[in-house]
């Protein structure tokens, strides 16, 4: 069975494969890999039904661009008539009354949704350890985390339980697990993809994106899910490029950030990436060291701003209209307090409290306003570099996947797992992680490329080149 879609589609079109058997194969495999805990729920019957309809369409030559692509959905993206919980107790049993724009668009192109995948609660986490449904295991080494927050979605792709997955990335939640699991993860430019139907964590940071086994599949999915949408005022009206990859490989200028190759970064990762630079240079590309003086401010600014937005976004979970409600009886204030205290997990509560604090009128200027200024500086500096260079390159993560429990007692250490990925969310630039090599301990690590705003086409092309170069 093909892990990727592009090659599978060729077999589908020639009649050498069919969707029903493929879906059955995936369902079986999911069953066999239950211990990974990557799926919260599978939609087997429905997927098989759809598979047979799409097989018919393929025979009739009326099948869409994603015909037969079996996709896993992160549990924070709405699909009409299906449960969605952001892996939180507070939304246990809640069913969405509408479909997100992304789901609607992939279904319109005949993709098959096979289930919803485990993630950190409300996408808050870097190891998938904050999920109400328990951690997801890294398929390569079950004692290690898969990364987060899109841990279940990433492992589903890594373990071959589907062709691709749709995740969300607020500070690295697609790219960081992609790095830990050895798959491709893309966070598009802010405003490239509609957020309608994505359970918000931090609205001005959140982007939906694909997790795939290769860059071609990422490009194909991006093509389908991008573009303007009446239901999201923050989506760009810029036309969507044709993302079909080409072999174009004219010399590019690449900046690697000096500060991302300093202390705290695994020596092996550094050295393998330096070796990669030599290969790139040999192929005619320019690779230069550039200083990014704000590295130390990335994570603090990110946490001030995202927790502020989260504290407000998560206010709708009250135990009143929908989701979990405390069993205790009392007045309205008690209902809110008890339902939220019992319904949210520890990390979510930590971030709500932090966000509430930074927005209080006494501290607004000291934290929120200042972090916004830092964000502007980061965006400016990133733009400056990208005015001179085609791409910015960093390790996706400072280390390979760490062990369970290693960072759960130290939230700051956990937050630093996102140190190289939050930049693109603060600045809104597109960024992709592709497998960059393998550590001597057997674990993969990713290399991250950031491109110009809405420069996904060039970014994907070069990412494919880099992926091939690295493996």
């Amino acid at each position: 069975m093909h892990k990727d879609y592009t090659n599978f589609r060729k077999l589908l079109d020639t009649g050498d494969a069919n969707c029903v058997a493929t879906v059955r194969g995936f369902l079986e495999k999911i069953e066999n890999e239950m211990h990974l805990n990557s799926f919260i729920e599978t939609w087997g019957e429905e997927a098989l039904q759809r598979a047979s309809e799409i097989d018919q369409k393929i025979q009739n030559r009326t099948a869409g661009k994603l015909a037969g692509m079996v996709i896993a959905l992160k549990d924070n993206i709405c699909y009409q008539g299906h449960k969605v919980s952001a892996s939180s107790h507070i939304l246990e049993g809640f069913e969405s009354q509408y479909s997100s724009t992304v789901v609607q668009r992939i279904l319109d192109e005949d993709a098959i949704l096979i289930g919803r995948t485990n993630c950190d609660e409300f996408a808050m986490g870097a190891s998938n350890e904050t999920s109400y449904y328990g951690p997801v295991l890294n398929a390569l080494d079950n004692s290690r985390v898969p990364g987060g927050s899109s841990g279940g979605a990433t492992v589903a792709v890594q373990a071959g339980l589907c062709h691709a997955a749709i995740g969300s990335d607020t500070g690295g939640s697609i790219r960081q697990p992609a790095s830990f699991c050895g798959v491709v993860g893309l966070k598009p430019s802010y405003g490239r993809i509609s957020r309608w139907g994505l359970l918000a964590y931090a609205s001005s940071f959140d982007q939906i994106g694909p997790l795939t086994n290769n860059v071609e599949d990422a490009a194909l999915l991006l093509q389908v899910i991008s573009g303007t949408d009446d239901y999201d005022a923050t989506v760009s009206t810029l036309p969507v490029d044709n993302y079909t990859l080409s072999d174009e490989n004219s010399p590019k200028k690449i900046a690697y950030l000096k500060e991302c190759f300093g202390e705290g970064v695994d020596e092996e990762i550094k050295h393998q990436l330096y070796a990669l630079f030599e290969l790139m240079k040999a192929a005619g590309h320019t690779v230069e060291e550039v200083s990014f003086p704000y590295l130390d401010y990335l994570v603090p600014a990110y946490y001030v701003l995202t927790t502020a937005e989260a504290s407000s976004n998560l206010s709708r979970y009250q135990g009143l209209q929908l989701g979990y409600r405390t069993a205790e009886k009392g007045d309205l204030d008690m209902l809110f307090k008890k339902s939220r205290s019992e319904g949210f997990g520890k990390e979510v509560k930590r971030r709500i409290m932090l966000g509430t604090f930074v927005l209080t009128s006494d501290f607004y200027d000291a934290y929120y306003s200042k972090a916004q200024k830092v964000r502007r500086l980061i965006r400016q500096k990133t733009d400056d570099i990208l005015n001179t260079y085609d791409f910015i390159l960093t390790p996706t993560t400072p280390t390979v996947a760490f062990k369970f429990g290693e960072k759960t007692q130290d939230p700051v250490a956990m937050y630093l797992a996102d140190i190289f990925t939050v930049q693109a969310n603060l600045s809104g630039h597109p960024a992709i992680s592709v497998p960059g090599g393998k550590h001597s301990n057997g674990m993969p690590f990713g290399v991250q490329l950031m491109g110009k705003h809405f420069g996904e086409k060039k970014l994907l092309n070069f990412a494919k080149y880099l992926h091939n170069l690295a493996v």
């Binding site: 509408y98 957020r195 309608w196 239901y231 923050t234 407000s312 998560l314 979970y317 509430t356």
Partner: protein
């Protein structure tokens, strides 16, 4: 309490008026805003704040906010950022309200209001900002539970905030009366305070006259009519003065007006007030209102009462009082102007509108919008009088009621049917004049001896004998000739 104590203090008042905008759909989604629908039927995943939903701009609501700003002389802001106001309440589905905080769409305006003594007072407008309404909690519908109707959740509002320029309940009354008239003229709000589509909160403080620092302000809410605004403010000023005079402190608090008792009662202290944690709404990009947009809205602005009053004084030669009565509502003024389009006798048109027509509407409890007579029919009545065909009193007392009952017949036909056409032919009238003078020969002698006020008696007799049809002018003339 010594009555003189009140004169030592000066009240300082600022008003916040919320107006529900007359858009067809809600502020940030396409749900209907129609009033009076069954509870929780005008809702969607957006207005209920379901997970994953996002707001979108309603351009109509923005246009209406700009209209209000232009009407009260405001600057219109180019870059508008929405903000979230965060608090928990059962009827607030998202846990925050989308509003504007630091960048209200309209700012720095003013409104000049006419006071009872004829003077004019300028009240500064600090800001007009856009926001969404919450749902409605109902605590009296069910024995055990409070119920929530989310139909209102997301309805667009504007909040109009004055500077603390108001100095008395009377000024507040004049201001809110004028604001209500303006929102109705602009078709941006129905101005109904009883139903809550127009709501007013007052910030009231008192200080010793001549003091340079304002006193502690108290917010008064729930004044659901214009006269209650006046009553509540009057009460609150008195309460505060008495408290201070008795050596007590005024607390920063929110009070509610009890219309039955005519008093204000504490709702909550402001010292423990919510911190609303305002911050820019990340789901809505800044809204850019450029000059072209403002100009476009400007072209849709109807004439406001102030302009109409000026026009009526200069073009129709009416007095200011008459002009202001005629412009009380837009519909009334429009009707009047249409009458004036069909007659040159503007004074008569004004008199008809303020007299016969107004009394008819009052008696029948109807308004000008549903009045059965067309403006041309009023003009026709005026013409009949002006042409001497019928007398003024016959027109208003006889023809007008007949016309209201059978508007299709036409005023002239009805006057004929009622036998009210005046005799304006001297040959026909002369015999009656002779007859009267003969019958009252003694009085004729007295008249000739100098008792000139007997003329009224002769005219009256001629009118009586002609069955009211004698043209009074002609009658006077004929009698004068005969008696000289």
């Amino acid at each position: 309490m010594d009555e003189k104590i009140y004169d030592k203090y000066q009240a300082v008042i600022g008003l916040e008026v919320h107006a529900q905008l007359l858009t067809n759909s809600k502020a940030f989604c396409s749900d209907s805003t129609e009033y009076g629908a069954t509870a929780n039927t005008q809702v969607s995943v957006i207005s209920l704040g379901h997970p994953g939903t996002l707001p979108k701009h309603n351009k109509d609501a923005i246009n209406l906010a700009i209209r209000m700003g232009l009407a009260i002389n405001c600057q219109i802001r180019e870059v508008n950022q929405y903000a979230r106001k965060n608090y928990f309440y059962a009827d607030l589905p998202k846990g925050y309200q989308i509003t504007q905080d630091r960048t209200p769409i309209c700012h720095d305006g003013f409104l000049e209001v006419k006071l009872k003594d004829g003077s004019t007072k300028r009240i500064g407008i600090e800001r007009v900002h856009m926001e969404e309404d919450s749902g409605k909690s109902m605590h009296d519908q069910d024995v055990f539970d409070s119920l929530i109707d989310y139909n209102r959740a997301g309805t667009p509002l504007i909040e109009i905030v004055t500077h603390p320029d108001i100095r008395s309940a009377e000024e507040a009354y004049a201001y809110i009366t004028e604001i209500r008239q303006i929102v109705r003229y602009l078709d941006i709000c129905d101005g109904n305070m009883e139903e809550g589509s127009l709501r007013c909160d007052a910030n009231i403080s008192v200080m010793l006259k001549g003091a340079d620092k304002y006193g502690v302000k108290v917010e008064v809410k729930n004044m659901n009519s214009i006269s209650n605004v006046r009553r509540a403010i009057d009460f609150e000023i008195k309460r505060q003065i008495e408290a201070i005079a008795n050596g007590n402190r005024i607390f920063s608090e929110t009070r509610t007006f009890d219309a039955m008792k005519g008093t204000t009662i504490v709702m909550r202290s402001k010292e423990l007030a919510n911190d609303y944690r305002y911050f820019p709404e990340p789901d809505l990009p800044p809204l850019i209102v450029d000059q072209a947009w403002v100009n476009q809205v400007q072209t849709t602005m109807p004439a406001l009462p102030k302009e109409l009053i000026k026009k009526y004084i200069s073009e129709y030669s009416l007095g200011e009082y008459d002009a202001s009565l005629l412009t009380e509502t837009k519909e009334y003024a429009k009707y009047f102007e249409e009458v004036c389009g069909h007659t040159k006798n503007f004074k008569a048109a004004a008199n008809w509108m303020m007299g016969t027509v107004k009394s008819h509407l009052n008696e029948t409890g109807t308004d000008i919008g549903t009045f059965t007579l067309k403006p041309t029919q009023i003009a026709e009545l005026i013409a009949l009088v002006d042409d001497g065909k019928i007398s003024n009193s016959a027109a208003s007392q006889n023809v007008f009621p007949a016309l209201v009952n059978t508007p299709d017949k036409g005023a002239l036909t009805l006057a004929q049917e009622l036998n009210l056409i005046q005799e304006s032919n001297a040959d026909a009238l002369l015999p009656i004049v002779e007859e009267v003078l003969a019958a009252w020969s003694e009085k004729v002698e007295e008249y000739k001896a100098g008792k000139k006020n007997l003329m009224g008696l002769f005219v009256g007799e001629v009118m009586k004998r002609s069955g009211g049809k004698a043209d009074p002018k002609l009658t006077n003339k004929l009698l004068g000739e005969r008696l000289s």
